[in-house]
């Protein structure tokens, strides 16, 4: 017995020592955190090449956190263990970089680099800047399109890619009616995570069809969810018709993609920046698929949003700002960007890159992958709201899935308006939310009318 206890004590000490050993590094380490998964293999190659050939004695440590990326980042910052460079596309920009964590790049960015990254047209307040300070550099642009299975369309006789809500509903119904016995369904959406599912459908559609962003109207400074009910009804209609893949309420995006790759889904919505990579390397498929335009109601009110203009930011508390900046500009250098663009991993928004690249196979095969004139970056909506009760994603998902208690769409929208506007007002009064109002906002020219 005593021997066992002594043994355990020794083992503990040994284990602690082994675990706590820190090897002294001579190179300057720059830690990069990212949430991007699809380009992992490519980036590994890029990083290794840099580590082996760079002359500034820098070593890049590249880590991917696709699960809970925002929590990882925030915890890291809170405890002083944050990375030097961090991925800031998507909602992370608003909550992390814009709120003061990012280092201003103004002093380090040369004029030449500024032009390389697109000049005035690619930089704007709340897009990658705050009050004149540049916080992030443009990289790629990604927006949402309809993803459809051409083989299934051929089989049921759909000749033209559906563009309006009615056309999509009809197409989905047709597919399910004809091919439902074989286990092939017209439409699918990953409603296990309402934020992810509606984030790639409702959010973009409401920009194009209603001129709102996240339900917020920049011109009036109010939330107006009653205007988006048409879109929600469209999504719900397909469930009522029975044209959807069974079990959408517990379908995650990756299982959805697996089923699509197996030829069991006719249509779904997803990002231009992701799907090509998924179907070329992760889920190689024989399915003949393509992108179609984002569905609308026939009248365009605003440009469709696109996530772009920001990619990496530098941590304000980094101990190695110059090294970090060098790594940052390397990761967003012409060669790296051209490489990822040509491989179809990202859709670049930089003309300087497009001019120097061959049109990637991806874009030749799927023309709608490239940025269209109807795509544009949109400014940020008010952040840091403490909304009491469920978010609009959950509420609308409840309606779409036909869950009891969520049947009255108009009442749901009115309640959302009340709660979101109350949170907005309270936050402004508290000082925790910055009001964002652009009286002259024009949804057809989002970045140019932010005043």
């Amino acid at each position: 017995m005593r021997k066992l206890l002594s043994f355990l004590c020794v083992a503990t000490m040994l284990a602690t020592c082994l675990v706590g050993v820190a090897v002294a590094e001579e190179k300057t380490k720059v830690v990069v955190w990212t949430a991007a998964r699809a380009d992992y293999d490519y980036m590994q190659g890029v990083i290794e090449e840099y580590n082996e050939t760079n002359t500034s004695n820098i070593e890049i440590v590249y880590e991917v956190y696709s699960d809970n990326y925002q929590q990882v980042l925030e915890l890291g910052f809170d405890t002083g263990n944050g990375p030097d460079i961090y991925y800031t596309a998507g909602p992370v920009f608003a909550t992390v970089s814009y709120t003061g964590r990012a280092l201003s790049l103004n002093d380090m960015l040369t004029d030449e680099q500024y032009e390389f990254y697109g000049g005035d047209s690619n930089f704007g307040n709340t897009i990658n800047m705050r009050d004149g300070e540049i916080l992030s550099l443009p990289y790629s642009i990604s927006t949402v399109r309809l993803v459809y299975n051409q083989d299934i369309f051929d089989r049921v006789g759909i000749e033209k890619v559906p563009e309006t809500f009615e056309e999509v509903i009809a197409a989905a119904k047709l597919i399910t009616d004809e091919l439902g016995d074989e286990g092939i369904y017209g439409f699918a959406i990953n409603l296990k995570s309402p934020g992810s599912a509606l984030g790639r459908t409702l959010d973009y559609m409401m920009q194009a069809t209603c001129g709102l962003s996240n339900g917020y109207n920049f011109a009036t400074g109010r939330y107006e969810f009653d205007k988006v009910t048409e879109i929600v009804a469209f999504l719900g209609q397909m469930f009522t018709d029975g044209s959807t893949f069974p079990g959408c309420d517990q379908l995650d995006i990756d299982p959805l993609r697996t089923q699509f790759a197996a030829g069991r889904i006719g249509m779904y919505y997803s990002y231009t920046g992701a799907e090509y990579g998924v179907y070329s390397s992760q889920f190689p498929t024989d399915v003949n698929w393509d992108f179609g335009p984002l569905t609308g109601n026939g009248t365009r009110v605003g440009l469709q949003g696109a996530d772009g203009g920001k990619w990496y930011s530098i941590n304000k508390d980094t101990k190695v700002p110059e090294a970090a900046f060098e790594v940052l500009t390397y990761l967003e250098s012409l060669d790296v960007l051209v490489g990822s663009y040509e491989a179809g991993l990202h859709i670049t928004m930089l003309d300087s890159v497009i001019e120097n690249s061959e049109t990637p196979t991806a874009i030749e095969l799927h023309p709608l992958m490239a940025k269209q004139d109807t795509d544009s970056v949109w400014p940020l909506t008010p952040t840091n709201l403490v909304v009491e009760g469920e978010s609009y994603y959950n509420v609308f998902a409840g309606y779409i899935l036909g869950i009891p208690g969520y049947e009255d769409l108009d009442a749901l929208a009115a309640d959302l308006n009340t709660r979101y506007n109350a949170a907005l007002d309270k936050g402004i009064a508290d000082g925790t939310v910055t009001p964002i109002v652009y009286p002259n906002f024009d949804p057809m020219n989002p970045t140019g009318s932010m005043n």
């Binding site: 017995m1 005593r2 206890l5 355990l8 004590c9 083992a11 503990t12 284990a15 602690t16 082994l18 675990v19 706590g20 998964r37 699809a38 992992y40 880590e63 991917v64 956190y65 696709s66 699960d67 809970n68 929590q71 990882v72 915890l75 890291g76 809170d78 405890t79 002083g80 263990n81 995650d252 990756d254 299982p255 993609r257 697996t258 197996a262 992701a274 990579g277 998924v278 992760q282 889920f283």
Partner: protein
Amino acid sequence: MTKYFSKGIGFILKFVFLGIILLFTIYPVVYAVLGSLKTNMQLVLGDGFLPKTWEFKNYVYAFKKLNFFQYTYNSFVLCIMCTSFALVISSMTGYCMARYDFPLKRILNTLYLALMFVSLGSVTIYPVYMMMNSFGLTNNLLGLALVITGGQATNIFLVRGFVRSIPAELDESAKLDGCSKFGIYWHIMLPLSRPIIAVVGLFAFRGAWNDYITSMVFTIGRKSLQPLTVAVVSLRYSVNAAAEWHIMTAGATIAIIPILIVYVLTNKQFISGLTAGAIKG
């Protein structure tokens, strides 16, 4: 005649019922093991019970490319640390509580009892995390082990109950021989408390091996520190933009096997440990 008939029916019913229960219990484990030998497509598309091709390379992939050696090592280190801490702390404290009266005793006793039933859930993880950070213990397994070990109230009661059953005459004769209090603990109590020590150790090991939420939060920024449970679940959103379910089942199997082995070897102690708590409680 009817007596034998009804006995026969009873016999059949009994075995049917047991059979269903056994199937229910063991099926997910078998499924996980078999699933780990299928390809991802076969697993996700539900293509048959037995693997079509026996993909042992899933395990090679998990260990080599996905770093599972590191995760398994982390789990073992974490568990050994937690078990040691739990044993040392609960045995010493349980012994003192059972044998001696001292000024703090009553307060401690009440506090332990009270807080055993108060559970604030995962709320406590955040303040503990911040506190550990101020000690500089957030980026290593030692900090996590300390957090998982925690207050040890239940184990202390277990040890205390057991020590109470050891006659005090032993202590007195040892004292007469010039033994210090710690000496009594070391030379007499520990050897005699082997059964309860085994139980405490086993439960500490199991608790640490299977811990998920606390481990996840404390290793959230450092992939290389993650134990097996966290690593396996995080495979759901793995690096390759598409959940690798076949690797996940392989990971799950890897996570199950060590604890299964420990269980098979120490079956009796687990069971007696549970009952010691129940009957005495």
